[in-house]
């Protein structure tokens, strides 16, 4: 592969938003074989081939060095890699596809609000029931790493490909690790997120495969692409704010915010100071503003930073 190969989501909102992202950089997507084709070109970016795949395939492909860059979720990159951050780099977070990977337990577990509580509950569960408590999830690796980092060992993983939130009620598992944006589905299923149970805050990101076969042509096209990403007119992008407590929907509406996960909201760039003040006054502070970009503060261009890490 001498061309720069770019993998983007093949359908749904992720595809639309990815297409919009490229178009905001000045490149329009032209699918070969019409809307349903699985290859495309970016008008304005010669030397680049676009492949349309599922987000999971894109994450796996970046890890396997099958293409150069792609748009996918950090949750998948973290879960599919044995050593996250080893094979891939997040080049730019794109501000859509927000979701948190979280630990949720039945809200009847009134004794459990932290991972430490969960550890103790798991030990008692094993003693009483003669088996480990089961955690239903599709995030096998992230869960194992997160639980180990919190010294929680008394559990078993059960793979769940879909409708994970139903597992506690059906008896398939005692608790779950799942992805959520607003927490509404969890709440409707009688589940609550642990206070320190956010394992990963994910969003759609432009990511690069560090050890893919980078030809001079591919690098030249990447440089053009990333220069255009940096030259993109600012404006429409919101600013992410992490709060100390979950902000209720009524206040989100009142302050014209957007839900961006558990204890996370987004406000418009012009309104940051005001929103931080309002949220703090109402008891949701301290409010943190996470770095919007992995590149921020380095003083180098996106391209230089990525090439330095190849």
């Amino acid at each position: 592969m001498t061309d720069l190969t770019i993998a983007i989501p093949s359908k749904g909102r992720l595809k639309e938003k990815s297409e919009a992202f490229f178009s905001s950089c000045g490149f329009s997507l032209q699918q070969e074989g019409g809307d349903r084709g699985y290859t495309a070109r970016l008008h304005g970016l010669p030397g680049a081939t676009v492949m349309l795949l599922s987000a999971r395939e894109i994450a796996q492909g970046l890890i396997d060095e099958a293409f150069h860059v792609g748009i996918t979720g950090e949750d998948l990159l973290h879960d599919l890699s044995e050593k996250p951050g080893e094979e891939t780099r997040v080049i730019r977070r794109l501000g859509f596809g927000h979701a948190d990977v979280i630990v949720a337990v039945p809200n009847g577990w009134v004794d459990v609000s932290t991972m430490a509580d969960l550890e103790a509950a798991g030990a008692l569960f094993r003693e009483r029931h003669g088996r480990r408590m089961k955690v239903a999830t599709k995030y096998m690796r992230i869960t194992r790493r997160f639980f180990a980092s919190r010294s929680v060992g008394e559990y078993r993983l059960v793979y769940s490909a879909g409708a994970t939130e139903a597992a506690p009620a059906s008896g398939a598992a005692e608790l779950i690790v799942d992805i959520t944006t607003t927490g509404a589905t969890l709440f409707a299923n009688g589940l609550k997120i642990l206070d320190d149970g956010v394992m990963l805050r994910s969003q759609a990101s432009l990511c690069g495969s560090r050890f893919a076969d980078w030809s001079d042509e591919a690098l030249a096209a990447l440089k053009t692409l990333l220069s255009a990403v940096e030259a993109r007119p600012p404006g429409s992008e919101g600013v992410l704010l992490h709060t100390t407590r979950q902000v209720p929907q009524a206040l989100i509406d009142q302050l014209d915010l957007k839900h961006r996960g558990f204890k996370a909201v987004e406000c418009s760039a012009q309104d940051v100071l005001n929103c931080v003040q309002m949220l703090t006054e109402r008891g949701y502070g301290p409010v943190h503003q996470p770095p919007s970009d992995t590149n921020s503060g380095t003083g180098k261009s996106l391209f230089e930073n990525f090439v330095a890490e190849m």
Binding site: A120, S151, G153, G190
Partner: protein, 369 residues
């Protein structure tokens, strides 16, 4: 070479066996937890059940021993093997399939004599295979248990520390936790009897419209709430005890000094009732020095050594080549007295100890033909 190793283990008696290679994946996972999943060779059978290749001989033989003892086997017995085990390698030079030569012994009196006999067999077997120089890494998982047990903590705190001991960074994490806000509801349960606590919890859940779903019972929820209300968790660990535990975790010394170091630690913090654990350690060291001094010149004893060997609960050891990668021992063994009981739900209770040599990892020194 394998024959020479087998001949040494044959001294311990017993039959040469080769149990089932394939087992339900749930068995090792349930026993050892998810930490081992990345090492386990798992595949899906045609009924869509996860099955695993045996990661060692210890687990399948323990299952057979449980089966035999359920139908009347009693007394002491030894099972020897020279058989394949399967683990996904961490180290690039390691194979996924390898031979283990060793033995597992059940129902012998638990104590330093049988420990030392087993250790001696593994050392002698390695020497029979041509290993002249090696280092022993030694541990005894009963030591931490004994020190924690002697602190006079509440049962929940004692159990929590014993579990935390088995997790990387677990004890330090427990000791660092500050007593937090209990919240109004838990505070309201302080000093309340279990029956009254149950009524309170049920009332609160009804008022909040919360139902308990799944296998976990309301009784478990209440038990934990009452423990929290009565400060039975970490709050009951004094600063003095925390200092002692931190010092204990750091004990990593030449094996000959281990008993003295631990005894002076016990004395410094006025801890009684660890004498038994120290006597065992002392006698075992003596017997090992008498019967198998070969790899002891640079041997180390560490309190935390072997804590990740999930079902081991007493003496543990590994043999490594000098200056070699300590993650690839060529010999190992240990005591796991509670495994048979836990596999049988308490129906079978027998002591157990085992040790192996991995011929594929024996350093290829010049004196090997």
């Amino acid at each position: 070479m394998t024959g020479d190793i087998e001949a040494v283990f044959a001294r311990l008696g017993g039959e040469l066996v080769d149990p089932d290679i394939v087992m339900p994946a749930a068995l090792p996972l349930e026993l050892s937890g998810e930490a081992i999943r990345s090492r386990l060779c798992v595949f899906t059978d045609n009924h869509n059940r996860d099955v695993a290749l045996r990661p060692d001989l210890t687990l399948p033989l323990a299952l057979e021993e449980v089966k035999a003892r359920r139908v009347g086997r009693t007394g002491a017995c030894t099972a020897r093997y020279s058989a394949r085990a399967f683990r996904l390698p961490v180290h690039k030079d390691d194979p996924a399939e390898f031979i283990q030569v060793g033995c597992e012994r059940y129902g012998y009196p638990a104590g330093p004599d049988i420990d030392a006999e087993l250790y001696t067999a593994v050392v002698d077997a390695s020497r029979a295979a041509g290993i002249a120089n090696a280092t022993s890494l030694l541990g005894d998982l009963a030591v931490f248990d004994a020190f924690v047990g002697a602190l006079g903590l509440s049962n929940p705190a004692t159990q929590m520390l014993r579990r935390a001991f088995r997790e990387d960074g677990g004890v330090e994490a427990v000791l660092e936790v500050q007593a937090g806000e209990k919240g109004d509801f838990v505070s309201g349960l302080v000093g309340v009897s279990s029956e009254d606590a149950e009524a309170c919890v049920r009332e609160m859940m009804a008022a909040a419209g919360i139902q308990l779903v799944g296998t976990r019972t309301i009784d478990e929820v209440i038990t934990r709430l009452v423990e929290k209300a009565n400060n039975q968790d970490i709050e009951s660990i004094s600063n003095e005890s925390k200092r002692m535990l931190r010092e204990l975790m750091d004990v990593s010394v030449p094996y000959e000094t281990a008993v003295d170091v631990l005894a002076s630690l016990a004395q410094k913090y006025a801890i009684g009732s660890v004498d038994r654990a120290l006597e065992n350690l002392s006698r075992r060291n003596d017997l090992m020095r008498q019967n198998a001094p070969a790899f002891l010149d640079t041997a180390e004893f560490a309190v935390t050594f072997g804590r990740r060997f999930t079902y081991y609960d007493g003496f543990v050891f590994e043999l490594i080549e000098h200056a070699a990668d300590p993650s690839r021992p060529f010999g190992a063994g240990g005591r796991y007295d509670r495994l048979l009981a836990s596999l049988s739900g308490g129906a079978v209770d027998a002591t157990a100890i085992g040790g192996v040599v991995r011929p594929d990892r024996l350093p290829l020194s010049g004196n090997l033909s």
